[in-house]
């Protein structure tokens, strides 16, 4: 009952997305991009891949992308997933790329099947995109990612709850001479200001040292005089 509803919602949503991308097309040089996501639920080697849905990349720069599944998970798929978990197998996904040669190129990755199962089909995809917009790799991560041997009821295994993240190649660091020079300038200025503020006269600057010195000298002199007088007086008394 719920499935057709969701499908319709999805269609509407896609339609809406499409419209919005058409509107923003002008300022997004990389444009709208759809990637097919395939997965394999048998153990392998050389497993058979089936389509799981598509990833719609709206904007690489703004990290806007989302996943739309082709439909709810079928009973066979659920059974295959359960078997895979029992066998301690791996869940594989891949994205076909429009290869240069005759052969179709894929980027692919995998995850322990239990991780997908126990997280009740909620996972996170990371699509790595290089500086010219080409897809270089994909990674998947269960949410939560560790397995603890939980049993998940079938009803929780119906819909994919997938988040997509785009990771684009960033510009590498460059030596930052500008801020350094600015800092040096600032420091120099501060120094210069410090020097400028101190253009008072010698006496104005050091009066606090000079005054006690003068007082001491003055006092010493008066003491000397007193002492001399006393001495003289003593001498006289003798």
């Amino acid at each position: 009952m719920a499935a057709p509803m969701i499908q319709m919602m999805m269609l509407l949503f896609i339609g809406f997305m499409y419209l919005s991308t058409v509107m923003t097309y002008e300022d997004e040089y990389e444009g709208l991009r759809t990637l097919t996501l395939e997965h394999a639920l048998d153990r392998g080697p050389n497993p058979e891949y089936t389509k799981r849905g598509s990833i719609l990349i709206k904007s690489v720069k703004k990290n806007k992308a989302h996943f739309s599944s082709i439909g709810p998970v079928t009973f066979e798929e659920k059974r295959a997933l359960r078997r895979l978990v029992e066998e301690n197998g791996i869940y594989r996904i891949r994205v076909p790329l429009k290869g240069t040669g005759e052969k179709e190129d894929y980027v692919s990755t995998f995850i322990p099947a239990c991780s997908v199962y126990e997280s009740a089909l909620s996972d996170q995809l990371i699509v790595s995109v290089d500086q010219s917009g080409e897809v270089i790799g994909i990674s998947i991560m269960g949410n939560p990612s560790h397995c603890s041997g939980l049993d998940v009821p079938d009803s929780n295994l119906t819909n994919w709850n997938t988040m997509v993240e785009i990771s684009q190649t960033i510009q590498g660091p460059v030596p930052d001479t500008q801020t350094y020079i600015e800092r040096m300038k600032r420091e120099e200025q501060a120094k210069a200001q410090g020097q400028q503020g101190d253009n008072r006269s010698f006496i104005a600057k050091y009066w606090m040292y000079i005054v006690p010195f003068v007082i001491i000298v003055f006092l010493m002199q008066s003491m000397d005089q007193q002492g001399g007088q006393e001495g003289a007086g003593g001498g006289g008394g003798r």
């Binding site: 980027v107 790595s128 080409e134 270089i136 790799g137 190649t169 960033i170 660091p173 030596p175």
Partner: protein, 983 residues
Amino acid sequence: MAARDFVRGFLIFARLCFVLSLYEDQIGKFDWRQQYVGKVENLYWEQSPGLGMGKKIFVSTEKNVLAAINTHNASIAWRKVFEEGARGKVDQLLYNDDALVTVIGGRRIIRWDSTSGNLIWEFFLPGNTDKPTTATLTDKTRGGQVFVLSSEGLYGLSMSDGSQKWRVPLSDIATMNYQYVLQSEETVYVIGIHFGSHVSVMATDFEGTVISTKMVTAAWIRENTKCDIVKHTNLLCYDQETDVFYLLKATRPDKFIPTSLQDQGVTRDSPVTTDWRSSVTSLGTDSVVVRLDADHLAVLQPTDHGLLLKKDLPKFSAGLIIRLDDKDTHRDVLLAVQKVNPEELMLKGFELDTGKEIPDLNQNINFPCSHGLPVELTGILARKKDGQLVYKVIILSQDYSIQLIHKSGNVAWKREEALAYTLTVEMVDLPVSENQAKFEDEFGSQEDNILTMFTKRLKTQISQLKTFFEWKIQQLQGHRHHPLTLKKIDEDEEEEEELLRDEFNLHKMIVIATAAGKVFGMSSRTGHILWQHYLPDLSPFRSLGKDKLLLYIQRGTSHFPHPPQGVVIGRNKISGHGHLFAFNPITGQLVKDMPSGGVTLKYIVKQAFLLGEIDEQFLKGVVFLDDQDQVHTYPESIQEHLKNVLSSLYIYTCDDETGLMKGYTVFRRENKLYADQVWSINLQKKQQTITQVIPKRTNEHVHSQGRVLGDRTVLYKYLNPNVVVVITEGEETGSQAQTQKGPMNFFNLYVIDTVIGHVIFHANHRRTKGPISVVHSENWIVYSYYSDKQRRYEMASLEMYEGNEQSNATAFSSFVAPKQPFVMSLAFIFPLPISTMTTTITEKGITNKDVIIALKTGALFTLPKAFLDPRRPPTPTQETMEEGTIPYSPDLPVNTEGIINYNQTLSNIQGIYTAPAGLESTSLVLAYGLDIFHTRVEPSKMFDVLKEDFEHWIIASVLAIMFLLSFVTQKLAARKALNRAWK
């Protein structure tokens, strides 16, 4: 406030500028340097009349080196190292009448002073230099000229000052390949070849006037046809398809005279295959020695009717003809060497005219099989006053070694030039002494009861006492004897060395694998070669544009009684399959059942690595992935053990031709192991090429899991052991690039988890170019590159952190790790060009790290990692002061105290290997390239050992005096107290 911050910052800075330099009397105490020249291509004996011949030899080598080697002790008198690559290639070395002239990089003609190696003059050829340039010299008596033939003209240069005297333009330069310039008494001949059609011979006199030009048809001549000049004016060519020799006399260029060796009665299995250049020697004489096979020579004499076979020399591998000038007559003597048994060579002398043996010259030479076969022989021969013949002969062998033989048959010296081709280095701990092993045994076992432990203790002490007395007795007797010594290489020079671990484990065995197919064991204390093996079939892998040999230590020395084991893995020269050689890295002995040349595997190796797990015999297995995605192991028996760890075994491969990185798991089917591809990354081959893949060192210990910040919180490091750094280089295309001048180079750096194929981090550097050198350690990456935009060398530093919480402290798993760690980065300007970099490694990883940078100037420079910290703040604050980071300044300081090789310049450093010593403070460094240099570094100074100049006596005497004083005062105090009590 700001001033105080500044002062504090300065103090931190000053503290970090360690004085790393040595005192003058420490020079050579823990470092040594060895200089090499490379594989010899041309060799001449010095001929300075009057002073006696052969004091020096002049060599030019494959490594773009010109050098003079003293023949009395093998030391290098002088050496010139030219630029790497084709620009610095020594095309030709000419030596005549004490004039030494080289042709370098196809266009530079340089005359050198033969005694000092100083440049006398240089002539720069105009025009393009795609085609080879050759030259020839005349004697002083004939004007002293250099005739240089480039692809466009023939030049006559003055020998004295290098000025151009004349130039003759050549005709048909588009189709003709002018390759040979010859001379007779008065004429210069230029031979040009039109492949598949004809040969032209142009004759000019010494003044540059053309006398004649003649065409000779030669439809058989191809681009790969090997030709050489013999007997001054003859061109000898060999056509491989028909197995026929062709001889052309330049003096009368009518036709090529064909000669088939089969007609002359020479039988052999295969046609002439070995390289021709080194096979035709002895130009000064009438005849020529031609190599037909690795151990088959023939002496041919050019005559008017073609070649005449003078002597067939089967089983001889190298020979030369020397003209011996007796009073009036002269005669030609042929010297040739023959391998008589694996350890011995037989040198024989023949009189060439009669073909008779000269028994005086016959000699057996000790020649270990670690040299392969002799390849070339050069030498000088003289008659002493008593009529006896004496000679000095230099043998060049397959393993690139040079050795000098005297008349007595003794090897005077050897130079192991293979060491200039070092590709991989490992350092292995030496075994502990017998007593110490017993010690370990004593305290190692847990289940012993007190009684057995006590008896063990007594036994050990008795044996210790015994060895002590034995040692004392030996000392008194005056000579020492060690149970564990190896066969010495040079009896006279080398002292016997004890191969036992020293107190601080500073003395190690250096195992070196070279591109020449030779494996060496070297003492790290002295640099002496202790053992060597030559593997004729071994050649390096070619991966990502670089030669690579794998060298793994499968078992160390700490598992007595199991011997240590190392393995070298390369490619078989002929079949291209894997080639493996296992040995004991301490003694150099082969592992049981290992043939002396190594084993060829049955598959092409795509990937190989050392397994982290050990089996019951403490042996780490080597895992191979072949091109059919099948997984193999060495030894085979390890497969059983591998079953247990199969689920956690992941393999990755990296293909620079497709730009794809792939990951595999391993599964078992029908008792065989196969790889199953589980992830792939597409690194966009059409834009860029993968040039480097740098994993972390496996033996690295990280002491601290995080770093404490100024506010007392901890920033945890992202310590993922499965991470590799991948570097791709490319050229930018598109509209943006077109607006700029010239190509826009860039490189990308990817940090990739190799278990799940996740791109953790990726960065792009625009308008930069390589060569890029990367250091990858702990949670940080440091890399250097050249910035095209700013025209300077820059260094960038990345550090990865998990954040304020650690996800899994005990064991790391790529499946549950945080997918996107927090990456910090910062870039710096480095003022000097860099050739390669590495980082120090210590026993427990407590010591700070230094980045060791090999500069193109020949210096090894150490830079504390703190200078490359991405957390260096642009403006220092209280908090950053607390953390101890240095305020950011865009340029990195290069202070001369940080140059660890002081004035010992190292040429063309290709790599640096670091190994931990037993001391936590110390890291051992070996830099290799054309030269080899070993030293130790202490990045945080020597904090765990007292300094050498520590005043033990003063401290001891002060302590003694204190003790005495306290004793005396105690006595006095007691007496005083007693007296007081009596009062």
